[in-house]
Symmetry: C2
DNA sequence: CACCGAACTTGATCTGCGTCAATTTCGCCT
DNA sequence: AGGCGAAATTGACGCAGATCAAGTTCGGTG
């Protein structure tokens, strides 16, 4: 039994759908609290993503290597769920890194435990389905941006959509997320 | 009661999870068969995606306009489900077109009916969740390809992953899907 | 089967962004 | 506070792919 219950997580789930006492208790029993320092890799290529994470505090990024260079595909923060989509859902080895950009407090659950929850509490499938839909929508919007906008427009968009990111993530990571080199991003920022 | 039951759809769902007789009957009652000619737009920008489609026969594409030019984001075919992710899940106006590239036979269901099924048959949430996960994985793989591969590598990848697409989709649409102009794709194909 | 418009190819030129290299600035640790 | 390595900026140059333009081939229709 955890000393601290995963309250931010439970609070979030509760806003989506009332949780039965049993489901609540089972979540509290299974969720594991992890305090980890900046720089920790939650996942590396070749490994299967065994756990789902919920971020109580911190910023996390997913990235890939494209011939030796890091390409950041996403950033997540407080109150976000984190999984490496392909590896976790297919339970096959990842191509992706998942890295903490700040000291973080996370809650985690194994793949097997999650499947068990889905079986044991059918109503939990509805929550899982809607969370998956929400993140899928987020991912589609990100991809759309990459496809449809010019480099300056992608930068401006990020600046208006997620201004806070610039306070917490180094520009070189933002650059690769926008599909640019740090040099090009720097020049974009300098334009007037 | 439809003259023809949506058997390919039910067969597919049945492989994922046994369907109760009631759920089966409700699906048969609600699913609407549509035979539509090539060129039909299932969705246009500004409209909310009200229906989910299942493809019994035909090829369908999703595309956007990027300053006057079409950018194809996906292609789907027999036994695929089709929705415009952002618009359908958020029930907000679409930016996307959805167009039939061949004469097609589709089965469809409205957003409201789907929500009703989720409520009425809790076990249906599990099917919905897993289908959403599968398509999310597909979408992530597509995006990854765009991000990490060079233009020639993206072409080669598509050629090995979905060779059949080249028989059924005009090259100009494949070009924009790969993030290229038709001219550049043509030159890529001519290289030796 | 011939026609017409769309799809595809081929060529010439242009350009946005990448690459490589050299500073400058920042942020963290002692 | 000072110093060191990483991050960001700035400059010069090159190239992959876009653009514009002119054929050529393909496919559907009368």
């Amino acid at each position: 039994m955890p000393i601290v219950p995963p309250s931010p997580l439970l609070a979030l789930l509760e806003t989506m759908q009332p949780l039965s006492a049993e489901l609540r208790a089972e979540l509290e029993r299974l969720m594991r609290r992890e305090q980890l320092p900046r720089g920790t890799h939650l996942l590396e290529p070749g490994h299967v993503a065994h756990r789902l994470y919920f971020v109580e505090r911190g910023v996390v990024r997913g990235f890939y290597l494209k011939d030796g260079r890091e390409v950041s595909s996403w950033f997540m923060k407080e109150n976000d769920f984190i999984i490496s989509i392909v590896s976790f859902f297919t339970q096959t080895p990842s191509l992706e890194y998942v890295e903490l950009l700040e000291d973080a407090t996370l809650w985690s659950l194994s793949y097997g435990q999650l499947q068990h929850l889905y079986q044991q509490f059918p109503e939990f499938n509805s929550i899982g389905r809607r969370l998956t839909e929400n993140y899928y929508v987020l991912s589609e919007r990100r991809t759309l941006n990459l496809r449809l906008q010019s480099a300056p427009a992608r930068y401006d968009q990020l600046l208006t959509d997620f201004p806070a990111i610039f306070q917490r993530v180094p520009l070189k990571h933002i650059a690769s997320h926008l599909g640019l080199t740090p040099e090009t991003l720097s020049r974009l920022r300098g334009r007037r």
